[in-house]
Symmetry: none
Subunit: 196 residues, 4 copies
DNA sequence: CATGAATGAGTATTCATTCAT
DNA sequence: GATGAATGAATACTCATTCAT
């Protein structure tokens, strides 16, 4: 039962983001992470169950923050349109501001054996829930058609954002990710709102 | 240089789809594929450069067909709306009809080291090109706003479809994938067409 | 240099017998012994030099008692035959009464690297000495042939007893070990005494 | 399912005896055995399941021979006394002639986790069976008391021989093991035969 | 073309032991 | 004396790939 707190926990996580983003998950040795974090190899295993657990924890840890912050922002905003805009902007801002993090989330995380990586589904689901709530609030507001399949809409919205970020990560992040917020907003707004 | 055709080539590819879909890419040993295909271990390397090449070839091979067929269908259809509908339906039909194939494409393919998997970008790009042409034809037709960023729209469209298929694959394929064609079409039509 | 006495010393030794007998020497972690003993990992090393030292001490500690008690019993007995009987009975009684102890002595102790385990030879030698004295007293008494190689006889006697106990330990201790004292005595008596 | 035959199988086994006898089981690395055998590390695992399997196979392989040869010798001999003498001599001869082998059998083999080493019990049992048959033939012949517990006698006989060999191995094999055959025979004959 | 025995590079993980508190 | 977080050495085993036949 690893210790999920403490200074060393953070050090290791930080070192891991750096190494994973730089060399990829499979090419990164645990010993390398330890060195970068300034701890002994064995110390890693006081805080994580396995190399894979580091990657999953990386995601879980950040995803918790991500959703919490998003919820806060949504609480300060009124109406479906603003909520949608907030959601999109938040997604792009956060990932755009942390390229290494984004790299790991978009690329490396998907290299884990899906038979094992149930670990990421929890935090991800809570994000999905928030997205669905936003869409549903649009329905309540009368802006979004009641007959819209909310789950389907969520998948499409998330998939669209996700692909945009992935492409950005893979093209060496040449442009400002957040600059895409407006055009994306307009497309998604059209997609979901009835008579614009 | 490997022989990229012949009876054994097909046998190996078929064995690989089966094994990858069943056990995942990393958990599948080359020896296992050879056994399933009824050939010797070494024979694999007469037809493929590496284990990874099998996975990539799997994708390339099918993606070629996929795009060819799609182009044929699009040639027989008039107007952006029908083209879009054809695109979506084709995507869902083909993947929905080949669950094992879909499993490999959606899940296993993403486990390859991105530093190496440039192999898939070729065939994928030709699909992207078709998608962009469809959107552009919508602009020419006056249905889609000229100011729409076609590449961005393509990413979102593809991302949306891709996520829908991934979710379907991961939920044990309980429903008919193609049954989602209509609702998806309506959302994407709204997304891209001006005043509906 | 470790403190070879005190309450904690006993606690650790007791915990070790339990764990070794239950899981075997190699499968037992020092941390586990510490936990079972209710002390910190590091505390172990205030009382023992190494994991191996625990096992060796276990043996030494008990072997000291074993030989002392045996000597006392022998002092109260007259004649080779009674001495031999006493020796056999003592061996079977003590080990039969402490199955966990016997398990460790007969099985686990032999898993130690013989390049290091000189530690056990001391206490064992004093037992061997007692056995040899008993045999020699038989010679003095005229019951045992003078030409008998006492060291050889000792090895055979000890080996015979040892194997009997090992078999008992490995067959889940289904019968009373001490019940074998009589038949064993008769065989060994015949073995060593001239014309019975 | 490892290949239990072939030239390489023998090479590896020979290399293993040498290394185990020289450095002990735990101190011997698999890579070292491979080097000594002139094969690649991985090749070991084509012929053996694990490092432990090498040690067990070592014993099994030789024990088969040992028992077969013993049976042949016994077939050419008449009467309990000669059979017993044959048994003892064979035991001492074979082990005395192969000190490295004896080292491994008497010392290293016992370092294997008894929870796993069921592998050795088979071949050993067939030896036990032969010993018991010899004793039983003595009973049939009228030389050994019918009331003697044959299994107990076997354990004592085997334990006695075993301990003698172990002592010999551990004292740097300074004397000829087989020279002990006569005195041992006399002791065991007295032990089991009624009126000498 | 086909074979499959042989190769050997590559590394996550364990756990006895230490030492600063 | 006691603690327990931190250490880091140590290595069996896998499996994609090759090549002699």
């Amino acid at each position: 039962m690893p210790i999920k707190k403490g200074e060393k926990y953070i050090q290791i996580l930080d070192a891991a983001v750096k190494e994973f983003a730089e060399n990829g998950y499979h090419r990164t040795q645990v010993a390398r992470i330890a060195k970068e974090a300034g701890v002994a190899d064995g110390t890693i295993y006081l805080y994580f169950e396995s190399k894979e657990d580091i990657l999953v924890s990386l995601f879980t840890e950040k995803m918790g923050d991500f959703v919490d912050k998003l919820k806060q922002k949504l609480a300060n905003v009124n109406g479906f349109r603003e909520e949608l805009r907030t959601l999109i902007t938040h997604h792009l801002e956060v990932l755009g501001a942390n390229p290494a993090q984004a790299m790991v989330t978009q690329i490396e995380l998907r290299q884990i054996d899906p038979w094992i990586n149930q670990g990421i589904s929890g935090p991800l689901k809570s994000y999905f829930k928030v997205i669905e709530e936003v869409i549903r609030s649009g329905q309540d507001e009368g802006l979004v058609c009641k007959s819209l399949d909310v789950r389907l809409a969520r998948k499409m919205l998330f998939g669209a954002l996700d692909e945009v970020v992935t492409c950005w990560v893979m093209t060496d992040k040449k442009y400002e990710l957040v600059s895409l917020a407006d055009p994306i907003f307009e497309i998604l707004e059209s997609a979901f709102c009835k008579n614009k």
